[in-house]
């Protein structure tokens, strides 16, 4: 195929996919139905692979589809479906507008040692240590963090300014929203990667994708055996070099008429740059020369695949990284464990599957999820936990569990979620207003959706909180509502492994009046 339409099909698809991902993360009013998240997230390579391998989720076969796609077409995933890749293409275009030479690429040798080292380290850690490098380097998760920590605040800010303008005209269709701000450490990693991907793509096209990105390198290994690929027509090529200059991946060695398929992201720019229609995209004919190297490559690919599959056996082997509860103190809030969202089943499971894409942080209507610093150990930086000073887990809400692409959070029916105990409320009597001031409060008890926190008689008409651990689910509404500062009089300590809470019992009221009681 030498049709110029191919590039435009790529452009249209990529822009549509990019828009969808922006909408996913920038749905600041939480209007999207959960089903909308499923399809674009399904084929995100690393999250889908983690979900499939560690959770055995049969539906999470998106990464297999991507593998098949790669075997057929090469690394088209990188150009068509990867939001970070598409973002870099957009930046690269902008780069070309700034300086023409930023868009004049030319053939470069691959950074073979570096890229395979990064891939190997990422996979080895995933198998023997933890997800750290996948969390850090998974392109979808990197993109998710850009959206959550940079784009979302900007969009929320614009929304809030608009809301105030409209409000003056007595129109309340746009409402001011909670501005997503986080502690400084949250921005370190996203900033570094924004700088890295931004600068590399601005001046060097797809250099990041072909050097740093482990998904790119991995798919590059597979694309070496892809059926469809670019090839030169010797009879037509005049060795003008236009294709090499147009190639964002710098992978066309036009002098030797050789295209490095492991770096080619199937953008079709070469076809459109060639005045002689000497480059075409089509089924490859395996020549004898190629067969020579095939075996080594296949061993490497096979080995890598085995390594990936090995993940399944190791997915629950991270005890040493799980924070161990310490001795609880009674006066100050002393949390021994962070609280993980319902559906995670516990800390260990959660941190072994979460790639910190931060979609849940964006999607939480109550702003209770925040990225961690060292709550899960420093290796778990950016993996979210529940911060009950910022919000609380709404009783009826299951949004984060519905949308998590990696299976770190598994869906629960609302009825099951309401009985999932993710932490336990601990009442610190010494801090409580009722005890210290002898005035009424009860903010914690009124907020409690199960009445695990309730008021019992104290002095005179006063009542004081009491907790019932059996029915407490650890939603944190009590902690959020407690008006005492700086230390709360009630707080939730996370459960390292979630358990089931008892259903609150209730009896029918018999209050009745046949006549007015006054």
């Amino acid at each position: 195929m030498t049709s110029k339409a191919l590039k435009y099909i790529r452009l249209a698809t990529a822009l549509a996919i990019f828009a969808v991902f922006c909408v996913l993360f920038l749905d600041i009013r939480h209007l999207l139905p959960e089903e909308f998240f499923d399809i674009p997230l399904w084929f995100q390579f690393a999250p889908s692979a983690i979900k499939f391998i560690s959770a055995g989720e049969a539906a999470a076969t998106g990464f297999i589809a991507v593998l098949i796609l790669t075997v057929l077409t090469g690394r088209s995933y990188c150009s068509f479906l990867c939001p970070l890749g598409i973002m870099q293409d957009l930046i690269s275009r902008a780069g070309g507008k700034i300086k023409r030479r930023y868009r004049r690429f030319g053939f470069k040798k691959p950074h073979t040692v570096l890229r395979y080292t990064i891939l190997a380290v990422t996979l080895l850690f995933a198998v023997f240590g933890g997800l750290y490098f996948i969390t850090l380097l998974d392109p979808y998760s990197i993109f998710g963090r850009f959206m959550t920590y940079f784009a979302r605040p900007v969009i929320t800010g614009i929304n809030n300014v608009l809301a105030h303008i409209f409000e003056r005209f007595d129109v309340y269709a746009i409402v001011p929203l909670h501005f997503p701000s986080f502690k400084a450490y949250v921005y370190i990693i996203p900033s570094l990667f924004l700088l890295l991907t931004g600068v590399m793509s601005l001046i060097k096209g797809r250099l990041y994708c072909n050097t740093v990105c482990p998904v790119g390198t991995f798919l590059g290994l597979i694309s070496r055996i892809s059926l469809l690929r670019f090839k030169f027509d010797d009879s037509k090529c005049t060795k003008c070099g236009r294709c090499a200059i147009a190639c964002k991946s710098s992978c066309i060695d036009f002098l030797n008429k050789n295209i490095d398929n492991s770096r080619c992201v199937v953008c079709f720019n070469c076809i459109n740059s060639c005045p002689d229609k000497a480059i075409s995209y089509g089924f490859v004919r395996f020549s004898s020369a190629e067969k020579k190297v095939d075996r080594k490559k296949r061993e490497l690919i096979g080995g890598t695949l085995l390594l990936l599959l090995g993940l399944s056996g190791r997915s629950s082997g991270q005890e040493k990284n799980t924070p161990v509860p310490q001795k609880a103190s009674t006066v100050k809030e002393k949390k021994t464990s962070p609280v993980t969202p319902p559906g995670s089943t516990g800390i260990e499971n959660f941190i072994s599957k979460c790639t910190a894409c931060s979609l849940c942080v964006s999607a939480c209507p109550n702003n209770v999820l925040v990225p961690s610093f060292d709550q899960y150990g420093i290796a778990g930086i950016m993996q979210p936990h529940m911060d009950y000073h910022k919000g609380f887990c709404a009783y009826e809400c299951t949004r984060c569990l519905e949308i998590c692409p990696t299976g770190a959070l598994l869906p629960l029916l609302p009825e099951a979620k309401k009985l999932t105990k993710i932490g336990k409320a601990i009442f610190v009597r010494e801090n409580c207003i009722v005890e210290t001031e002898h005035t009424a409060c009860g903010a914690c008890a009124e907020s409690c959706p199960t009445k695990a926190v309730h008021m019992v008689p104290f002095i005179g008409n006063l009542t004081i909180p009491e907790t019932n651990d059996d029915i407490c689910i650890g939603c944190g509404h009590c902690e959020h509502a407690c008006p005492v500062t700086p230390y709360k009089a009630i707080y939730v300590d996370g459960l390292p492994v979630h358990t089931a809470a008892k259903k609150p019992e209730n009896i029918q009221t018999d209050l009745k009046h046949d006549d007015f009681p006054f």
Partner: protein, 306 residues
């Protein structure tokens, strides 16, 4: 007087009058007792919320007593919780709708409605059924989830609540109509008319920290008071309030109390839920501060059974 002086002076006078009105107490500019005011309270039992209100407000002299032509009205229900109407955690939507309709019929130019919810406000507004009911009746449903909507006011006579931030829609409205729901409440034993105003302020934590009962009573000193309290006792949460755990908490008392005195309204409501008003501190404090009358025996109450 030269024309220029007249313009300047009248502008000054107008400003002074406006300022005086904004400081409150402007009701004193008009006679207190208007014709038709015969009852302190109307209590109705045995009907649907909207039908009881139709009858009750008629007995009370009609909505035109409270809402004038071209006025901006704030209807303040309780929408605090993400609960469906059968839990009775929020004001009955049918009642809210009928109240708004009466406001428009009385000539209101615009009716506003909001509540600073405890649960996520979008869900509260939607799942309580109040957003739809209010919009169907033509009211403007206003968010109250952002501090930017609130302006600080001072309440000089208050003991604890000297200052508080109040939603600007309340400050800008001409008439406030309070439409609380009666419920058991963990913090104050019960919630009804006076406590419903915790939904117009930004920082409720301050109230909890600084003698909650006193703060609830103190708010009644604020100059912009609701002129009418329509207390929803149709479905009443008798325990596990203010959220309720399940429908077992709810008793169908099929009643309603309409009054201009919220202390009296709360005292009557307390009896509806079988509490002794003497044991609800904020009612007693408000009574002793002269903010209303909790002695129901001294009031002229019209009781109607449908």
């Amino acid at each position: 007087m030269r024309r220029r002086d007249f313009i300047i002076k009248s502008a000054g006078a107008g400003f002074a009058a406006g300022a005086a009105m904004s400081f409150g107490g402007y009701k004193k500019l008009w006679p207190e007792n208007q014709p038709g005011q015969t009852y302190d309270m109307v209590a109705i039992m045995g009907g649907k919320p909207d039908a009881m209100f139709d009858l009750g407000i008629q007995e009370f002299g009609g909505m035109t007593r409270f809402v004038g032509k071209g006025q901006k009205v704030l209807v303040k229900p309780n929408i605090g919780w993400d609960r469906t109407p059968e839990y009775a955690a929020c004001t009955n939507p049918a009642l809210v709708k009928r109240v708004i309709e009466h406001c428009f019929r009385a000539g209101a130019k615009e009716v506003y409605l909001f509540d600073h919810t405890v649960d996520n406000w979008v869900n509260c507004y939607r799942n309580s059924g109040i957003e739809k009911a209010a919009k169907d009746a033509g009211a403007k449903v206003v968010p109250a989830n952002s501090e930017s909507y609130y302006q600080e006011v001072s309440i000089p006579e208050a003991r604890s609540l000297k200052k508080t931030k109040i939603h600007q829609v309340l400050l800008e409205s001409d008439v406030i109509i309070n439409v609380p729901v009666l419920k058991n409440h963990d913090a104050t034993h019960m919630t009804c008319a006076m406590k419903n105003m915790m939904g117009v302020v930004w920082d409720r934590g301050y109230w909890h920290r600084n003698n909650l009962h006193q703060c609830i009573a103190d708010y009644a000193f604020f100059s912009k008071k609701p002129v009418l309290h329509i207390i929803d006792c149709y479905n009443v949460m008798t325990k596990h309030g203010p959220q309720g755990v399940s429908k077992e908490d709810v008793a169908n008392l099929a009643s309603q109390i309409i009054t201009t005195d919220w202390v009296a309204g709360d005292a009557a409501a307390a009896k509806m839920i079988n509490y002794d008003p003497d044991k609800i501190d904020y009612i007693k404090i408000a009574h002793n501060l002269g903010l209303g009358n909790m002695n129901l025996d001294s009031l002229n109450i019209r009781k109607i059974k449908m």
